[in-house]
């Protein structure tokens, strides 16, 4: 489990990037917390710098869009999903449980999509 930041430091609509390998992005989408791999599966770009709308994050380079709940791309040019990771809030601090590199291939299994509530 990796501590991210205090809950109040990630307001709705905001995101934060963890310098893990590979980097992970944590989003507060209207009060729901999500974590996905930060690097767009199309080309090297940081999704934490993208445009967040509802549960969709648009890549800042080529406008590929991903569903934060599943990691699946919702439009081209991305064709591969990004991995999703579980998010917990403990004692007011957001934590991410990074999916193991071998176990989670980012196949978009919604049950593996970590969702924490910021509400």
């Amino acid at each position: 489990m990796i501590p991210v930041c205090r809950l109040e430091d990630l307001p709705a609509g905001d995101s934060v990037r963890l310098d893990t390998t590979p980097p992970v992005a944590v989003f507060n989408a209207d009060g729901e917390l999500y974590a996905i791999d930060d690097t767009c599966s199309h080309q090297d770009a940081s999704l934490s710098e993208g445009w967040l709308e509802g549960c969709l994050i648009e890549c800042p380079l080529h406008a590929a869009s991903f569903d934060l709940r599943t990691g699946r791309p919702t439009c081209l040019p991305a064709r591969r999903p990004v991995r999703t990771h579980q998010v917990y809030v403990e004692d007011g601090v957001i934590h991410v449980l990074v999916a193991s590199a071998t176990g989670a291939t980012g196949d978009g299994d919604a049950s593996a999509a970590g969702k924490g509530s910021a509400a």
């Binding site: 080309q43 993208g50 648009e58 800042p60 380079l61 080529h62 064709r79």
Partner: protein, 401 residues
């Protein structure tokens, strides 16, 4: 419409094929490509592919599943030689013909070359085969590399060569590279990235020719002022020419690209053109984003039989060089004033050798109090907001608001 021919199997051609199926066309679909390779993405060729961080499998634009779903007949490694007078039959190089009710032309553009006999060690960076050949030369130990042309391809290639440890010089005929695209102020900031990457930039001097015995390797680049730059590898990045030669004698109007209306429709309603080869509504854009956006309107108009949708979108391009990401959106014209609204021009890109990125900068271009364009260096999130604002303004303008 029972059969559509897509001439060109690169980004725009593939997106046209996708749009045809997405918009309900279920007839015969023939895609003709001059290169032997299935559709691949070109932007990484001068960057991650050249430096070896991305391999060919990362360049593929469609996987097997999607290719199967498209249910197209692929004629790869096949050049076209003519379009018949009715614009329905395409003549292949070997004399065979393919006939359809509709034609999408996506033949792209070819790298402009320097005159003179071919010399080993001289490269362009346009196709996968170009990039493979350059990569092979660059893996033979440290080399003196001269890049002719300081545009985006030249700068990206110079940056990649520097990363690989080569001794790199960029020669640019204009007083400042990229000034036509970015304006003098921001072009000057971008020119500064070369020095930061350890690359020499010579500006305001043209190239007189290449030195080297015919059929042998290049030895030097001769400048217009008589100077000689010793070189083992030369990269020529002096622009591209739209691939329209095969249309000579066809009814299509051609003038630096195929002339199209706002909806990518040519002078024949059953022929549309997209991507680098198309001059849409008076402008030709050699941008990845145009190649992916134009096919939607082009295919809609092709299937409708006349122009029902225009392909206007906000121009957008990006470039990665010396560890920095440059993004530009909008319509800048000469005289627009650039104003830095975030960050500073002092050190926008940080220090690539230390792997550190600077704070980045966002500049907006203004004319008569209106924002016309935006440029960012390592400033993706604010740029995205600015780009969306520009797109909204443009949509309102087109709607006549």
């Amino acid at each position: 419409m029972r059969a559509v021919i897509v001439v060109g199997a690169s980004l725009a051609g593939l997106y046209a094929a996708r749009e045809l199926r997405a918009q309900g066309f279920d007839g015969r679909l023939v895609v003709i490509g001059a290169e032997p390779h299935p559709p691949y993405d070109r932007p990484p060729l001068s960057k991650s592919f050249l430096t070896g961080t991305a391999d060919e499998d990362r360049l593929a634009l469609a996987d097997e599943e999607e290719t199967a779903e498209l249910a197209a007949e692929w004629l790869l490694g096949t050049r076209v030689r003519a379009l018949d007078a009715r614009g329905r039959t395409v003549v292949l190089d070997d004399g065979r013909t393919v006939t359809g009710d509709g034609v999408v032309i996506a033949t792209g553009a070819a790298a402009r070359r320097l005159p003179g006999p071919p010399l080993a060690g001289v490269h362009t960076v346009r196709t996968l085969d170009d990039a493979r050949a350059l990569r092979a030369d660059l893996t033979r130990g440290p080399q003196r590399v001269v890049v002719i042309g300081g545009g985006f391809i030249g700068a990206e290639t110079a940056s990649s060569c520097a990363v690989l440890g080569h001794d790199v010089t960029v020669v640019e005929a204009a007083p400042l590279p990229l000034a036509a695209q970015l304006g003098p102020q921001m072009a000057s900031v971008c020119a500064g990235l070369h020095a930061r990457g350890g690359v020499a930039l010579l500006t305001g001097v043209g190239v007189a020719g290449l030195r080297g015995a015919a059929g042998r390797s290049v030895t030097a680049v001769e400048l217009a002022d008589g100077r000689l730059l010793p070189a083992d590898v030369v990269v020529v990045g002096i622009g591209a020419i739209p691939n329209t030669q095969w249309l000579a004698g066809s009814p299509l109007a051609v003038d630096d690209g195929i002339l199209c209306d706002d909806g990518c429709v040519t002078t024949l309603p059953q022929v549309v053109a997209v991507g680098d080869v198309a001059r849409v509504g008076g402008a030709r854009a050699e941008h990845w984003t145009s190649a992916t956006e134009q096919p939607r309107a082009a295919v809609r108009n092709l299937l409708a039989g006349h122009t029902v949708e225009s392909a206007h979108s906000l121009p957008y391009f990006w470039s990665d060089q010396y560890g920095s990401r440059i993004q530009f959106a909008g319509h800048r014209t000469s005289g627009d004033i650039a104003r830095i609204v975030e960050g500073s021009s002092a050190d926008p890109g940080g220090d690539p050798t230390a792997g550190a990125r600077g704070g980045g900068l966002l500049a907006v271009y203004e004319r008569a109090g209106r924002t016309t364009a935006a440029l960012a260096i390592d400033c993706a999130r604010p740029f995205m907001k600015a780009r969306r604002g520009l797109a909204a303004d443009r949509a309102a303008e087109l709607a006549g608001v």
